[in-house]
């Protein structure tokens, strides 16, 4: 299968949309547990946004499997290429894990998983102190890992854009240049 030089439009839309959502979620998450008064308001953002990210992650994975991403530059050092692959699959794994762990955690606390007034998701874990505590800790630590990965990802993207200038950043930043119209 031939590999295009750019991500397709669906991939780019999902990438930039979810980038804003995930970064927003990480900040909402830490603000939620450190604010004295914003918790109820931020929680009402956090849950629907988390479920939206989970749904979009499904669409994104399907799109990625159907439309392979552009290859990395051939001259990229092997260690950087490995790091790129590993970090991307870790990011994908966390896009699924964070919402699912959060949903299960709220379930294990015995709290209703309210998305918005009147819309409640079913519990996906039994109410239990041990299960709750494990998931609560996991939600915090996976969030920190996710934030570190996001920083690494941004650093690598800017390194490609500003230092290597090898087209990797542009592959996600914009579409392929228009094909010249030969019928005219």
């Amino acid at each position: 299968m031939s590999r295009p030089a750019h991500f397709n439009a669906t991939a780019r839309l999902l990438h930039w949309g979810m980038a804003a959502m995930v970064l927003g979620m990480l900040f909402v998450g830490v603000a939620m547990v450190s604010s004295m008064t914003l918790r109820p308001m931020l929680l009402s953002l956090h849950r629907p946004l988390g479920v939206a990210i989970l749904l979009l992650a499904v669409v994104r994975l399907a799109n990625r499997l159907r439309h392979p991403p552009p290859p990395l530059p051939a001259d990229l050092p092997r260690i950087q290429a490995i790091a790129a692959h590993v970090s991307h699959w870790l990011l994908y794994a966390l896009l699924f894990a964070m919402p699912l762990v959060g949903w299960a955690m709220v379930s294990a606390a015995g709290n209703p998983v309210v998305l918005w007034p009147g819309a409640t998701l079913p519990a996906i874990a039994p109410q239990d102190p041990a299960i709750y505590s494990l998931l609560r800790g996991a939600h915090t630590w996976l969030a920190r890992v996710l934030f570190a990965l996001v920083l690494l990802h941004v650093a690598a993207a800017l390194f490609h854009a500003w230092v290597r200038r090898d087209g990797v950043f542009e592959a996600m930043a914009r579409g392929a240049p228009p094909v010249p119209d030969r019928t005219r």
Binding site: A5, L26, F27, V30, A31, V33, S34, S35, M36, T37, L38, R39, P40, M41, L43, A109, G110, N111, P112, V114, P117, G118, T120, Q127, D128, P129, A130, Y132, S133, L134, R136, G137, F147, L151, V154, A155, L158, F159, A161, W162, V163, R164, R165, D166, G167, E170, A171, A173, R174, P177
Partner: protein, 378 residues
């Protein structure tokens, strides 16, 4: 997208990179480090890691823990001693004009609850606790939950979270005496004159002899929304149907440590206990943000339903143990007011819940069988 100014404007994206002078490359690496550093700093600031003086739910919970003479792992940080109860709530037709919440509809909704006494010790003396409380979890026939946390005091002691924090710090026992330092308590009272009304209530309010004949007040304002789109600010109380009998000072001194729980069990053996849910509707000028100031007595009141408690069981093994009675869990038809102390409850209850469930998971909490005095129950 940021474009470094030195980039040749005509370079197509896929063209091979022009060789970079090393000085320019290091400037670009610095720019990348600045972007990453700014993001990391913003994150750390949001999390409160850069501002140790900022009051956070964790720090307020620490202060509440500090009012207890010793830690009690696995128990609630406040109102640690209590008993689980169960029964039902039955709404009234009059409620529909105020709120479309299904719990208030004239049907029976299952109820799980907890009656407790104020204080951080799970072994506190029931009869000497000035503050009693009722927490409820109600589930409407639409599946939506309504959780409430109510207290026997008619208004909150302070009107800000910072003042509550100061009150907790002032109430911490002095290591030398094991009791709060009177000088610090006096300094707090002087700095927070609004707390005098609470002190006066604590001194003069009559002591009833049971959880059953005590009134429990929601304290905070909420917004009730009806099916026609109308809404109003309200507060509510659970007004007991059980006649008042005084608990005399002599009885308070001599009562069994678990007096209230034992007494509740004895009453429930005779039959269910009832409270009317009385909703007070805010008038002009009534402040929804200040739980330390009661609204005037002449405000309209509507009885919207009845709490019926049928059974009780020890909290060590009861269903209420692992429940966070967070009063910001409300169903459609009820929404939160802008009362900062109501919002802070959600934050601090979550901290308390996380801590005690973790202690339970780690096996630090006493096992149910070792909880004292259960054998004395009838």
């Amino acid at each position: 997208m940021p474009e470094p100014e030195s980039q040749p404007p005509t370079t197509p994206p896929s063209a091979p990179p022009p060789p970079q002078p090393p000085r320019r490359a290091s400037a670009r690496l610095l720019a990348i480090a600045a972007v990453i550093g700014a993001l990391a700093l913003a994150f750390a600031w949001t999390a409160g890691w850069l501002s140790p003086q900022r009051l956070t739910p964790a720090r307020l919970t620490d202060a509440i823990e500090g009012t207890s003479p010793e830690p009690f792992p696995g128990f609630r940080r406040a109102h640690a001693k209590g008993v689980c109860v169960a029964g039902y709530f039955e709404g009234r037709t009059e409620a529909a004009a105020l709120s479309k919440a299904r719990v208030l509809a004239p049907v029976r909704s299952p109820l799980l609850g907890r009656m407790s006494i104020g204080g951080g010790s799970p072994y506190g003396l029931d009869a000497q606790a000035r503050v009693r409380s009722m927490a409820l979890l109600l589930r409407g026939d639409d599946g939506q939950e309504w959780r409430m946390a109510m207290n026997s005091f008619p208004f909150f002691a302070v009107r800000s979270i910072e003042a509550f924090h100061a009150q907790a710090l002032a109430g911490a026992p002095d290591p030398a005496t094991g009791k709060p330092d009177p000088a610090r308590l006096a300094a707090f009272a002087q700095a927070h004159p609004e707390s005098k009304a609470f002190a006066e209530w604590a001194r003069s309010a009559p002591w009833s002899d049971s959880f059953a004949n005590t009134q429990y007040n929601g304290i905070h304002a909420f917004r009730f929304e009806d099916a026609d789109g109308g809404s109003r600010m309200v507060r509510w109380s659970m007004r007991t149907q059980t006649p008042f009998v005084e608990l005399t000072p002599a009885q308070r001194e001599s009562a069994d440590p678990d007096y209230l729980e034992t007494e509740l069990q004895a009453r429930l053996a005779e039959g269910p206990l009832r409270w009317d849910m009385v909703v007070t509707i805010a008038g002009p000028g009534d402040d929804s943000r200040d739980p330390s100031t009661p609204w005037p007595d002449e405000r309209d009141q509507v009885v919207v339903g009845t709490v019926v408690i049928e059974r009780a069981e020890p909290q060590a093994t009861g269903a209420c143990r692992d429940t966070n009675f967070d009063p910001t869990v409300v169903p459609p038809g009820v929404s939160l007011s802008d009362d900062p102390i109501l919002a802070a409850r959600a934050a601090v209850y979550a901290q308390s819940f996380d801590r005690r469930q973790r202690e339970r998971a780690l096996g630090l909490a006493p096992r149910p069988a070792s909880a004292p005095a259960r054998e004395n129950a009838p």
